[in-house]
Symmetry: C2
Subunit: 427 residues, 2 copies
Amino acid sequence: MNCIKIGILGLGNVGKGVWNIIEENKNKIDNYLGSNLEIKKILVRDIHKNRGIAIPQEKLTTNPLEIIQDPEIDIIIEVIGGIDTAFEYIKQAFENGKHVVTANKAVIATHGNKLRALAQRYGVELRYEASVGGGIPIINTLTQSLSANKIDELVGIINGTTNYILTQMSDFGMDFDDALKLAQEKGYAEADPTSDIEGEDVAFKLSILIAVAFGIHIEPHEIPREGITKISKKDIEYASQLGYKIKLFATAKKFDNNFEFHVHPTLVPSNHPLASVSNEFNALFIRGNAVGELMLYGKGAGSMPTGSAVMGDILEIGKIIGTNYKSTPLDVVSEKHLNIIGEGISQYYIHTEVIDEPGVLGKIASTFGKYGISLESVVQRGRGNSTVPLVFITHEIERKQLDKALEEIQNNNIINKVASILRVENL
Amino acid sequence: MNCIKIGILGLGNVGKGVWNIIEENKNKIDNYLGSNLEIKKILVRDIHKNRGIAIPQEKLTTNPLEIIQDPEIDIIIEVIGGIDTAFEYIKQAFENGKHVVTANKAVIATHGNKLRALAQRYGVELRYEASVGGGIPIINTLTQSLSANKIDELVGIINGTTNYILTQMSDFGMDFDDALKLAQEKGYAEADPTSDIEGEDVAFKLSILIAVAFGIHIEPHEIPREGITKISKKDIEYASQLGYKIKLFATAKKFDNNFEFHVHPTLVPSNHPLASVSNEFNALFIRGNAVGELMLYGKGAGSMPTGSAVMGDILEIGKIIGTNYKSTPLDVVSEKHLNIIGEGISQYYIHTEVIDEPGVLGKIASTFGKYGISLESVVQRGRGNSTVPLVFITHEIERKQLDKALEEIQNNNIINKVASILRVENL
């Protein structure tokens, strides 16, 4: 039996998952490949650190070149994270004729185009299934199973931290702050949760999905985004009464000849499959012009699920080694003819606080009408206090129409406060 | 640009879907392949039949050999359905050096082992993503993305007809007969619905899934199965009150060193993602030893979704043509060491009708206790009639324990009637 050797850059959560999977499933993996798969070397910062995992010390090194320049190593797994160093290592790996598998969303979202071009130039493979949605086979589905489809729409719940927080708020009536604290205690949120709760992590992943599904390159910072920090317990309660759940959506879709993409907390009908994606789970809803509606659901993070995706990539590359098979580059799915319009139109949920007196609703509705905004539903909750919540759901409009109308309404002192504005997707 | 030529055996729903997808998405498909994909010939029964689709008449033939023996044709799509003729055609296609893609669950469930061996012998590819779950990438996920996992459990809703009927009964309080009639009117059920409603169709598909995920060959007729014809509106109502939905499940799982598999209407907790799979949609829940829980959801039938899966297979084979790449045969996932035990243990829902008098519940519970059956919940609905419904949910037991206990209870005239016994899966 011949041998396929891999090197791993980084021995955090994902690196350990890869090690454990190869230990546990070695028979199946080697049979699948028809080769003996061996981890030859792992890059770490400190060889002597106790990692709670039995790895022979001679497999560890602090010198990346011992892996990148080792002529025996066929595939390199990059799981150090971050952007600049990871980019350098991957580039050098390509130059040394190595295939690369990475779980690093930041480097693929930021430098994916460059790295894909480099991989092609050096005739090697670059795979990154684990960079979006952990163990869920999102990239493979989009690039292989659905290769004969044109993708019309993607809607994803692709951040476990925020989905865990929103689930706690929804199922147990928790405040955002308490739910965040709980998420941190459970290890679902980091000590500094900013990147997750402000939607930055989701924007990285959406940028990758847009490249893969539409062949369009959008920088993560170009994606309009909003996190979940302004969602209140009240919003979740009103949404529920109206038949919706609130989820942090990453959206990319074609609409006529336009292409829109954004990250927003969004109301989704309670009976839609995406509404039942709870806690730390992730899901991607896909609409293709042949397959119709498809949803992939699973664990979007964690050592073993993410390791599973890395290993799926490794085994696919393992099957290619020694053959003249070539993967299809991404630019074949290019939708470059589309107008890039960012946010697009949407239905909106608006939670306002108004003075409880006759005629208020009439004045608001008239002003909405003046700006071409029609309402799908209006709900007034509670009576008798000086201000009462008044909640609207509009039909599809542009956000700037809504902002203008609300400005006029606020200038006329009809509304005390606009507590929140959220998108509504009746998928 | 070189050319990949395909022949299609059969021009029903799926054949037309394939034709339409190639027409609509030709650019993307040809770019993906780096080749011009052409449908050279299609086998039909009647060349002159009006099919509502603009296919040049010279592409049609009534002679299968014009396709199977055409040296220009690289890949043959078998979508005539049925078992014997389809088997013959596929075999002859292999003998003529053709790769084969099929959407035919019956031939793969019945002769999959033989056909896979033949494909290997002739050095060609056999793909059948479309045979289970229509457009959902189930086979690819199990054989490629999850290739480094050992699969522990599969639970599928893989028949759209029965899921449509159960949804109508659940959401609109319909009787089975009315829901079946509606399904027939909408085209979701055939004039003779037996194969769907009795679970035969599901058994075919489960047999394929077992082969793919566990490397074990189980004939469809060896799979214990029960259809949905005995489910009453009442059962769905009681299940709902207990927090469950009833779905027709195809199950295969490892449990210690045992392997169980069966097709049964089953109560699943209302908040589980499988419970929100409604109407004609299909879903497969997968538990792998690395990836954890995964669910794939989408359209399990229909011309375009099934065509999408066929085309995914075609494009994968198209990429292999002219290379020395070889797919991995299925036997690497073999779990042949497991005890094949069929039904296994389960929690059960039992709906009985009893005489409304004191002491009845005590007698039943004592008899259950005698046979080692403990109860998770008991619900009595209604009072005052001569008989009242009494509904139990047991803890995990073997079915034969339950049958013995119920026999004794019925012999002692404590229960008037056992209206239904259903499995409960708290996944």
